[in-house]
Structures are given as structure tokens and as C-alpha cells.
């Protein structure tokens, strides 16, 4: 399993929660005293047990949804291209050509660092088009994928002509050898 599901679940849950909390805080700060937000806050203060239950329910729901989404993460790699899928009800499927990869970023926020995960951002030659972000990979897998995708780092010095036939269609290089499918 190449993805760190725990890290994905915690990260996604926190992202959704932070968005909600920031929105609520922003409204509460700016809204006049008679607004629905302020009245809601006053009402919740009167029922602390219910408030805690609402918060716990929201956190659990978000965590559950994130976990379900984490279970759908799929990534595969051939000699020619990379494929990535995510989503249950609505599924997103992306592929990019390996020869068009120009830049790879490895990112790890505090949660990812603690859970030994990292996010890999793969940039291609296209502008405004399809770039792939592989979220919360296991750290060593992220490093391994990065090294596989940037062969210049290890082979360029020994390979002065990396593309001997530039006229050849890039897609024709997408022969499925060494197919790795990972979830």
C-alpha cells in the first residue's frame, strides 16, 4: 500500500474542519449581535453537552468520509505514463506522460512528518493543464517514486542522449512494461 491512509484521513479531516471553523469564526467576528451566527453561539453555550456532541459528530463524519476517500486512492506507473484515481461516487482519473514530467516537489507538513508520509507534486510541461498531486504517500515510497521519475538524477551523467528519436510520438512510448498498480 503506497498511500498512508491514516495521514490522508487526518490531513483531509483537519483541512475540512479548518475551513468550516475559519468560516464560522470569520462570520462570528464580523456579524452583528442579532445575527443567526451569534444567536447560534449563545444557544450552544446554554447546552454544552449537546454542543460537544455536535462537534464530535461533525469530526467523526468528516473522518469517516475522509477514510472512505482514502480507500479509493489508486496509483499506477508504467514505463510510459502515470495514472492516478480517487473518489467513490464521482471518480477522478488522471494520467500524464512520464517523458513530459519536468519537476517534482516533495512536501510534508507537520502531520505528514509525524506519520511518516509525504505529498508528491508532479509538474509536467503543460500550462494550466493536468498536473498530478499524490497525497500522503508513505515516505519511503514517495522517495522511491521521485527517484524513479527523475532518472536524470542518477543516469544523466552517463546518458548524454536521453531521447535519441524526438520525432517519435511520446504516446507510442507508453508500452505497458513493468506495470505497478498501488493502492
Amino acid at each position: 500500500m503506497v498511500f498512508n491512509r491514516s495521514a490522508y484521513t487526518i490531513n483531509t479531516t483537519l483541512k475540512w474542519l479548518m475551513t468550516g471553523v475559519m468560516l464560522f469564526l470569520g462570520v462570528v467576528l464580523l456579524a452583528p449581535p442579532e445575527s443567526l451566527a451569534r444567536q447560534l453561539l449563545i444557544t450552544l453555550q446554554g447546552y454544552p453537552v449537546y454542543s460537544v456532541m455536535v462537534v464530535l459528530f461533525t469530526v467523526t463524519l468528516f473522518a469517516l468520509l475522509s477514510w472512505v476517500r482514502a480507500c479509493t486512492l489508486q496509483f499506477s506507473m508504467t514505463d510510459g505514463y502515470i495514472e492516478f484515481r480517487v473518489g467513490t461516487v464521482v471518480q477522478k482519473y488522471q494520467w500524464i506522460l512520464r517523458r513530459d514530467i519536468r519537476n517534482i516537489r516533495l512536501k510534508a507538513n507537520i502531520i505528514e512528518q509525524k506519520l511518516n508520509a509525504a505529498t508528491l507534486e508532479i509538474e509536467t510541461v503543460g500550462t494550466g493543464g493536468v498536473d498530478i498531486q499524490l497525497p500522503q504517500l508513505r515516505r519511503h515510497e514517495a522517495e522511491a517514486i521521485r527517484k524513479q521519475l527523475l532518472p536524470e538524477e542518477t543516469t544523466a551523467a552517463n546518458d548524454p542522449e536521453p531521447n535519441p528519436d524526438p520525432a517519435k510520438s511520446p504516446l507510442s512510448q507508453a508500452d505497458a512494461q513493468d506495470v505497478r498498480t498501488m493502492q
Binding site: 475559519m22 468560516l23 464560522f24 469564526l25 470569520g26 462570520v27 462570528v28 467576528l29 464580523l30 456579524a31 452583528p32 442579532e34 445575527s35 443567526l36 451566527a37 444567536q39 447560534l40 510510459g80 505514463y81 461516487v89 464521482v90 471518480q91 477522478k92 482519473y93 488522471q94 494520467w95 500524464i96 506522460l97 513530459d100 519536468r102 519537476n103 517534482i104 516537489r105 516533495l106 512536501k107 510534508a108 507538513n109 507537520i110 512528518q113 509538474e123 509536467t124 510541461v125 503543460g126 500550462t127 494550466g128 493543464g129 493536468v130 498530478i132 527523475l150 536524470e152 538524477e153 544523466a156 551523467a157 536521453p162 510520438s169 511520446p170 504516446l171 512510448q173 507508453a174 508500452d175
Partner: protein, 487 residues
């Protein structure tokens, strides 16, 4: 070649200032918001000296720690950049992939004798690597050998120049959204001449009563119809000023436009005083966007937007834009740059995809709607004029739906042997033409429960930044990498 360095000591000051300016990682803003909500502000104010010392020490400590994390490594095969403390960034870049090197100096660099180096690769919207606040000597040792200059070529074989009527057509065909910025600047410049008593925008902002006026707007009652009237008036105003901008900005910009296409380069110079010149290598050209709207058919020509595999997507007038090319010249141009003129599939009703797209857009706006609902007073929900507000919101939503329908109606995709034609979700029917070999990827949105019905697609092509929702000819199978490789 092996070289490793960090930031010089002089780099501490700009890092501190950037740190303070950018609310790095969003932490500070969150802390301030939480402190304000929890009512900590009065306690901080009561112990101002201690608070300032503590907060200052934290910021200074964080800045020094952040400064120490910057590390730049260069050898023959790779450039590595390590930055970040709370969020760590590790960028590894092969020097062979670098297409452009920019050296910039902001005011801090000028003051401290430093330089900011940006390394661009093909396709990245921003710089792939930013090496900030290093000394020129460090910059030379890191990237001194990487500057890339295009070769010059002046043998021109295909040339045309826009006549004055063609320039006027070009000015009329610029999309409104590209005219709004210049139009507002023109209005701001012209306002003091039109009315000697009118205040300039900066004077209005500095006016002592402006804050009070703004707070009055927030707390005053908005009657039914007001929001609709504001939207309508804003729309009419923007269309009006964009007409002015077409005459005073776009037309002088397009007069005398001359296009030269040689075997290797395309060069364009435009404007009555040659206000703008650009050139690009034909090998860098990846897609070409042509408009097919009512006006384009009436004028028997179209503006053309060229997109490259360059470091940044450039759209509209600021990009590689030729204001008007007649249909005959367009065929010639396409032949010259070796792109086949592909056609889009016929428009068909694709109601399910449209409704799903509307649902996506509506869901995207839910947070704003919830924010507004929470902001409104409780008494609003018992108000007798609530149905009028609901009717107005309904009308605005209907208008937005019609706008989205128009965009959906104009979209489409056709992949044929060696070529790809894309109609993006835009207000006008535009065709983006490209060779299949320039396609670097695909994004496909499907519903697995409905036999993998394709909701939307987005081809990975330069210049294609919108989804295509009219997907009558698309199936996950014929958009997969394995299938496209057989074409």
C-alpha cells in the same frame, strides 16, 4: 561541479520581513483570530511590554530557525533546494529541464547587495525553483552556466499586415473581461478631467468619513431588488467602459500589426509606435486557439491565441495574441505551423452533465451561502418580504445557470489521428487545436455507479484551463493513456 550553500547572514532581514508580510503558513492569522474570539486581546493589552517581548522573541527565533533551513545544492546532474520549517519543501530539479533563468532584485536585494534567482521549467505556472536572497557570487556558482538564449533567425517567408478595418475588427473582438482592467484605469485617469470636483479613488479612501460610510453600508437594510439592480448596473458600467477601452486602448495597440512566420520563428509587432513585439520558436508552439462566435463569422476572421510550452500560461491580450486573422490567412498560418484545422463535434443536449456541473458549482458556493445565512439577523427569517428576496435570489441563480449553460453548450472534444480539438467551457465558441504528440495527459471525471459515465474531461494541453462538460464522444476507454497511445 559540486557546490552547496545556505543563505548569507544578510538574508536574515528580508526573510524576517517576508515572514511578517506573508503570514507564513497561515499560522499567525489563525492565532490572531482565535485570540480575538477567546477574548485574549485585553489581557495582552494590559501586559503590553511582556507580550511584545514574548511575541518578538518567538518571531525572531522562528525567523532564525527558518533562515537556517534554506539549503541549496548543485552538482552536475541535479539542483536541490531545501526550505521550510513547519512545512518542509524539498525541490529536486535536473538542470537539463530548465528553460529559463530569471535574476531579479527587489528593494531589499538592492539595499543588501543580494539577488533572487528563479528557475523556470516548461509548463510550470510559477517558477519551479526560487532561490531567494543569495549573493551574486553564490548565484554565479549555482546557476551561472544555465542561461539559455534563443537563436536569432531573420529569414521571413510568410508575412501579413493588418489593415485599419482589420484592426478595428480586432479591437471589437477582444473579450470584455480583458478590457475591464485597462478600462477602469482609463476612467480613473479621465475622471479629474471630466469633473473638476470629483474625488480621486485614493482621496475617497483617505477620506475620514469613508470608514463610517462603509460600516453604514454593512449595517443598512438591503431591500428586495437592490442586489439585482447593483449587479445589472455593474454589468452595464463594465460593458460601457470596455467600449471606451476598445477605442482608446485596444485599437492603438492593434494598429499596424505585422506577423512574420519563418521556418523557425513567428514574430509579431503591433501598435502605432510598435508598442509590443514578441517572438517565439515554432518548436515551442503547442496549441492555437481560434474563436468561432457570431462576430467572428460576421467578420470572416478571428483573433488567434498561440500557446507555448512556456513557463507561464499567457491568456488574452497579454499572451501571444494576434488580434485578427482572416479565414484564408488562418488556413495558411495553420499550414505553416503544421497544425491541422480540426472540427468540434456537433452540439448536442447533454442535460445530465450540465446539471451535474451546476451541482458542482452550487456546492462550491455553499460555504459563501452558509456564511451569508449566518450573517443575517434572526428577524430576517420571519420577515414578510422574505418571498421577494427568495424570488430575487432565484432570478440571479437562473441567470447564472443560463451563463453556465452557454459555456457548457460551447464545449466539446474530438480526438482524431494525430490531432486534438478542444472546445473549452467559455462564453464564446472557441476551438483549441493541437497535435496529439503535444498532449501530455488527461483528467477524466466519471460516475462509476452509472457505468462510468463521463461527466467532464480536461486534456493536458497548454492553454486549456477549463473542463469540457459536453462529452458526447468520450468514454473512459477512449481517453485512457493506453488507447491514445495507439492513435
Amino acid at each position: 561541479m559540486n557546490y552547496q550553500t545556505g543563505l548569507p547572514l544578510r538574508g536574515l532581514l528580508p526573510i524576517l520581513i517576508e515572514n511578517l508580510k506573508s503570514f507564513r503558513d497561515g499560522w499567525w492569522l489563525n492565532l490572531i483570530l482565535v485570540a480575538a474570539v477567546l477574548g485574549i486581546a485585553p489581557a495582552l493589552k494590559a501586559n503590553a511590554t511582556v507580550s511584545l517581548i514574548v511575541i518578538g522573541s518567538i518571531i525572531a527565533g522562528y525567523t532564525i530557525a527558518l533562515w537556517r533551513t534554506y539549503q541549496f545544492t548543485r552538482d552536475d546532474t541535479v539542483i536541490r533546494v531545501k526550505t521550510g520549517l513547519a512545512e518542509k519543501n524539498r525541490v529536486t530539479l535536473s538542470p537539463t529541464n530548465i528553460s529559463r533563468v530569471d535574476r531579479q532584485r527587489d528593494q531589499w536585494c538592492l539595499l543588501l547587495g543580494l539577488v533572487i534567482v528563479e528557475l523556470h521549467t516548461e509548463g510550470s505556472e510559477d517558477a519551479a525553483v526560487k532561490i531567494p536572497y543569495i549573493t551574486p557570487r553564490m548565484a554565479q556558482r549555482l546557476i551561472g552556466d544555465l542561461d539559455v538564449e534563443p537563436s536569432a533567425d531573420h529569414s521571413s517567408e510568410f508575412r501579413f499586415k493588418l489593415s485599419i478595418p482589420d484592426s478595428i475588427k480586432g479591437a471589437l473582438l477582444v473579450p470584455n473581461k480583458h478590457m475591464i482592467g485597462p478600462a477602469l484605469i482609463l476612467v480613473a485617469i479621465a475622471l479629474p478631467f471630466l469633473s473638476s470636483t470629483a474625488q480621486r479613488p485614493d482621496e475617497l479612501l483617505m477620506d475620514e468619513t469613508s470608514v463610517e460610510q462603509a460600516s453604514t453600508i454593512l449595517s443598512s437594510t438591503v431591500h428586495p431588488g437592490t442586489i439585482g439592480a447593483i449587479i445589472l448596473m455593474t454589468g452595464l458600467f463594465l460593458i460601457g467602459v470596455s467600449v471606451i477601452a476598445r477605442v482608446f486602448y485596444a485599437l492603438p495597440y492593434f494598429l499596424g500589426t505585422q506577423v512574420d512566420v519563418s521556418d523557425t520563428h513567428i514574430r509579431v509587432q503591433s501598435g502605432i509606435f510598435n508598442l509590443r513585439r514578441w517572438q517565439l520558436r515554432l518548436t515551442d508552439l503547442a496549441s492555437i486557439e481560434v474563436r468561432e462566435g457570431v462576430w467572428a463569422r460576421l467578420f470572416r476572421g478571428s483573433p488567434v491565441l498561440l500557446q507555448t510550452r512556456g513557463a507561464k500560461m499567457r491568456s488574452g491580450m497579454s499572451g501571444y495574441y494576434i488580434p485578427f486573422v482572416s479565414n484564408e490567412k488562418l488556413q495558411e498560418l495553420l499550414e505553416r505551423i503544421d497544425i491541422q484545422p480540426g472540427e468540434l463535434p456537433e452540439r448536442r443536449l447533454n442535460v445530465f452533465n450540465f446539471l451535474m456541473d451546476m451541482a458542482r458549482i452550487t456546492a462550491g458556493g455553499t460555504a459563501i451561502v452558509i456564511g451569508i445565512v449566518l450573517f443575517l439577523p434572526v428577524s430576517f427569517w420571519d420577515s414578510p418580504i422574505l418571498p421577494f428576496y427568495a424570488a430575487e435570489i432565484g432570478c440571479i441563480y437562473l441567470l447564472a445557470t443560463m451563463f453556465c449553460w452557454r459555456r457548457h453548450w460551447n464545449s466539446g472534444l474530438r480526438v482524431s489521428t494525430g490531432n486534438i480539438t478542444v472546445g473549452q467551457c467559455r462564453w464564446t465558441r472557441n476551438r483549441t487545436l493541437a497535435k496529439l504528440e503535444d498532449l501530455h495527459g488527461f483528467e477524466v471525471i466519471t460516475i462509476p455507479l452509472l457505468n462510468n459515465h463521463v461527466l467532464a474531461v480536461r486534456p493536458g494541453l497548454p492553454g486549456v484551463d477549463e473542463r469540457v462538460t459536453a462529452t458526447t464522444e468520450c468514454t473512459p476507454g477512449n481517453l485512457s493513456a493506453s488507447h491514445l497511445s495507439s492513435l
